[in-house]
């Protein structure tokens, strides 16, 4: 088959995962499978230190992972946060979406749920991530994977996964698994995923904000710009750090837009018209 599809994802490290997701959509696979397999490939890569296996640990030395998947048809979310000991939080999040009346399970509850669904416990910390942790590098790693897919019928879904900020407090949950902050999608409008400092992204609920703006006629690029500009301006008044917010948007036509407060933000696109490609957007101009 060679069906119409679009898949977009944050950061160039997502390219190998997007390739897998593209094949699923092209061949008529389910949008949830495309989200899950794309993100699993990234979670499984021990060289990506901000997502899944090999993710950097919290202040207590444990790898705690957050992930979410949202269905653009029902607006339902499945998410896990502060999940320890499982390799693919995105797969557990999908089970929350499909097999519970709930949207978000955390920590011990998420762990017991994962075990009840047959997921296997693994040792999550790698030698590499332990060394980085032990040397306590004052680096902040905010490179959440966020993926949005659309199939031939216009069904959309999005997903996110992260190990969170480096040296985070135990139990800290950022924007990644939170509806409206890390992700939002509505089949009738479009979708958005965010990456960066979760605590700042949450202040603006920027994924919901961008999707809402698209419902009011904004293009994905204008919506991305406005959602980032709005929160950047508000945070600037408080003179706190606010230099790490990026967002990626798509509407029902498959138009794509991104915005960032960083010097640059890379994202991956693949569709029936666009071969697997990496795009770059540079720092948003803040007017006024």
């Amino acid at each position: 088959m060679n069906l119409k599809f679009t898949i977009i994802a944050t950061w160039s490290f997502s390219a190998s995962g997007v390739k897998i997701g593209s094949e699923i959509l092209k061949n008529g696979g389910h949008i949830f499978d495309a989200i899950e397999e794309t993100i699993k490939a990234i979670e499984d890569d021990p060289n990506i230190d901000s997502v899944g296996f090999g993710g950097l640990p919290n202040m207590a030395g444990e790898v705690e992972l957050d992930a979410a998947i949202m269905d653009g048809k029902t607006l339902s979310l499945g998410a896990v946060a502060a999940l320890k000991g499982f390799k693919n939080p995105i797969s557990v999040a999908r089970k929350v979406l499909e097999e519970t009346p709930h949207a978000l399970l955390v920590d011990q509850g998420a762990e017991e749920f994962a075990l009840s669904k047959g997921f296997q416990r693994v040792i999550m910390i790698t030698d590499k991530s332990r060394k980085i942790w032990e040397s306590r590098i004052k680096k902040r790693s905010h490179d959440t994977v966020g993926v949005i897919v659309m199939d031939e019928s216009g069904n959309m879904a999005c997903g996110t996964s992260t190990s969170g900020t480096f040296m985070k407090y135990k139990g800290r949950v950022g924007d990644t698994p939170l509806v409206g902050s890390g992700l939002y999608v509505d089949n009738e409008i479009g979708g958005a995923v965010a990456t960066g400092l979760g605590e700042d992204i949450m202040k603006g609920c920027i994924s919901f904000h961008a999707v809402y703006l698209m419902s009011q006629g904004y293009s994905p690029k204008d919506a991305a710009d406005e959602a980032v500009r709005n929160i950047y301006k508000k945070l600037a008044k408080d003179k706190k750090a606010h230099d790490d917010i990026s967002i990626l948007c798509i509407n029902t036509n498959g138009d794509i837009g991104a915005a960032t407060t960083r010097s640059k933000f890379e994202y991956v696109v693949s569709s029936e018209d666009i071969p697997l490609s990496i795009f770059v957007v540079t720092k948003i101009k803040i007017l006024e």
Copy 2:
């Protein structure tokens, strides 16, 4: 002193707490103190089975509490979710806001944080809540307390607290501690708090939505109506239950509005002009 102030809260059971918060604001106390003391009074009341001490347990028989506080000046959130063994989650949430770089701590991480800040462990389940749990009544209790306060200088804050839905999965987190879903406030616009079935409220990020609409010139009543109507209409397409969403809004002028999908929703108001009063709003008319 007899300073200008406004305090509003969900449900008539909040009246005794609102009285305490009113006194704090009237006498020039801090908005965070008003939020914390109002909600603590409700959390401490064992007869309120949906918030704090006496709250109904999860499916595993444990009382897990969620609470949040948001600062309208900085847009910062402090929240805890799935917290076990502490009487006043709102007080722990305030510590997250004031003394961490984070916005949300969950379960074991939240518990260790609470202990590190000197909070005392308590047995959270009461005889009454255990009996209700043991009889496994098929009742859904969604009566989250949500409070919004404004002081003489126009500073705003909001707070929420709940024990979550009855017979919830262990580790389940609803809208209550989630920015944009259970609560949102911006000193320059106004604030909103939501109560009802968290998983549905999250689908519409209705607190952020309502505050955004107020920024676009909607009155609090029109913003409340539109935020509820929007998600109600979307959920109606999916033919799922969607009969338990209520929202309470206020703008910078102190104008108040509420909307609900229930037959009625009661809320409490106190200000320099309005003596402690209970208002009632009835089911929203869904046009089209």
